[in-house]
């Protein structure tokens, strides 16, 4: 599994998969920031757009004109088909030996990408996951209720699942490509719970997981896609992971 790094002649390539739905402005900002912060690294950005009606794909095409079609890949799907399948769809078109998964709403800042890559190189980890709940990390834009729910959910999950990572629902992660392929194929959850299932399954399979602190600024543009049934979905997901993993 380590042969990619040991073979110094072959450089690592990172495929950054960003699923989008109505993110025309955010995707442009993200792409700019990725190119700004990853100067010395070989990477490609794969935008998986689920048929956004706001013209997200037009913006991506304009970005391809600026940065090159080999650096920004648009792999659209006809309609909203869910987060989990968006990743496997993007993965099919990824040419890197590492894959980064991040949200398009700017709550995940590309400036942390170098620390993910550095951490992976230092430790040889199969997965590096961003955590908001350690020093150096943090969250901005949450009210007390949101913080309370988040803490409660976290304590519940830590007590019941013993996952070995501090931030289960964060979705800013770097995976060794083969590991992501393996884990993604065994996941069945949808949406919100999917991120949690991915990391719990990876942990159960014994993959080496490392964490880096990230900050999370709640979305600036566009509306948040988390509904009121979030808590119910979370509890269902927790119960599912208890019996399934």
């Amino acid at each position: 599994m380590e042969e990619e790094e040991q073979n110094k002649g072959k450089k690592n390539k990172y495929s950054i998969i960003i699923p989008t739905y109505n993110e025309r402005l955010n995707i442009a900002l993200i792409v700019y920031l990725v190119f700004k912060h990853l100067r010395e690294v070989d990477f490609e950005i794969i935008v998986v757009d689920d048929g956004s009606p706001d013209g997200t794909q037009d913006i991506v095409k304009q970005l391809q004109q600026v940065y090159g079609e080999d650096r920004i890949l648009l792999r659209a799907r006809p309609r909203k088909l869910g987060l989990g399948t968006a990743y496997s769809h993007g993965l099919k078109h990824a040419s890197g030996n590492f894959v980064v998964i991040m949200d398009a709403d700017l709550s995940h800042h590309p400036k942390y990408l170098p620390s993910f890559i550095r951490k992976q190189m230092e430790t040889g980890a199969s997965i590096v996951t961003g955590t908001r709940y350690v020093s150096g990390g943090g969250v901005h834009g949450w009210n007390l209720m949101r913080k309370l729910t988040s803490r409660g959910a976290n304590v519940l999950a830590q007590t019941l699942l013993w996952p070995g990572v501090s931030d289960l629902t964060g979705s800013f992660r770097l995976y060794r490509r083969s590991v992501l392929e393996d884990v993604i194929n065994s996941c069945v959850s949808k949406g919100y719970v999917f991120q949690m299932e991915m990391i719990v399954r990876a942990s159960r399979k014994g993959y080496h997981i490392e964490e880096v602190p990230i900050t999370f600024v709640d979305r600036v543009y566009g509306s948040s896609k988390l509904g009121g049934s979030e808590i119910v979905e979370y509890l269902k997901g927790l119960a599912y992971l208890l019996v399934a993993t």
């Binding site: 025309r24 402005l25 442009a28 900002l29 700019y32 920031l33 700004k36 037009d58 913006i59 304009q62 970005l63 004109q65 600026v66 700017l106 800042h109 908001r132 709940y133 350690v134 020093s135 990390g137 943090g138 969250v139 901005h140 834009g141 913080k147 309370l148 803490r151 409660g152 976290n154 304590v155 519940l156 830590q158 007590t159 019941l160 699942l161 013993w162 159960r204 900050t215 999370f216 600024v217 600036v220 543009y221 566009g222 992971l241 208890l242 019996v243 399934a244 993993t245």
Partner: protein, 89 residues
């Protein structure tokens, strides 16, 4: 092994221990009967304490919001010059 089995075996072990205590009456029977309730109460306290501590020490990053705004302005300016339509939102 499924995780639920791990947790169940832990619970079974605790129950076996408790039944053992009841049968051997090392501690008075009336006290031993209450032990599961103590366990549940202390688990609840632990949970509340962890949530409370987590809430008090919740890491926030108000400076990041400002930095992000600066990044957004910078990105918009750059992209506008290159002909990417970032005006309307």
């Amino acid at each position: 092994m499924k995780h639920i089995i791990k947790i169940s075996s832990l619970l079974v072990a605790i129950m076996a221990f408790w039944i053992g205590l009841l049968e051997t009456s090392i501690v008075p029977r009336s006290n031993a009967w209450l032990l599961p309730i103590y366990l549940i109460v202390s688990l609840g306290c632990y949970g509340l304490l962890m949530v409370g501590v987590g809430l008090m020490r919740f890491p926030t990053c108000p400076q990041e919001a400002g930095l992000l705004q600066k990044d957004i302005v910078e990105a918009k300016e750059f992209l506008k010059q290159r002909g990417v339509d970032v005006g309307s939102d």
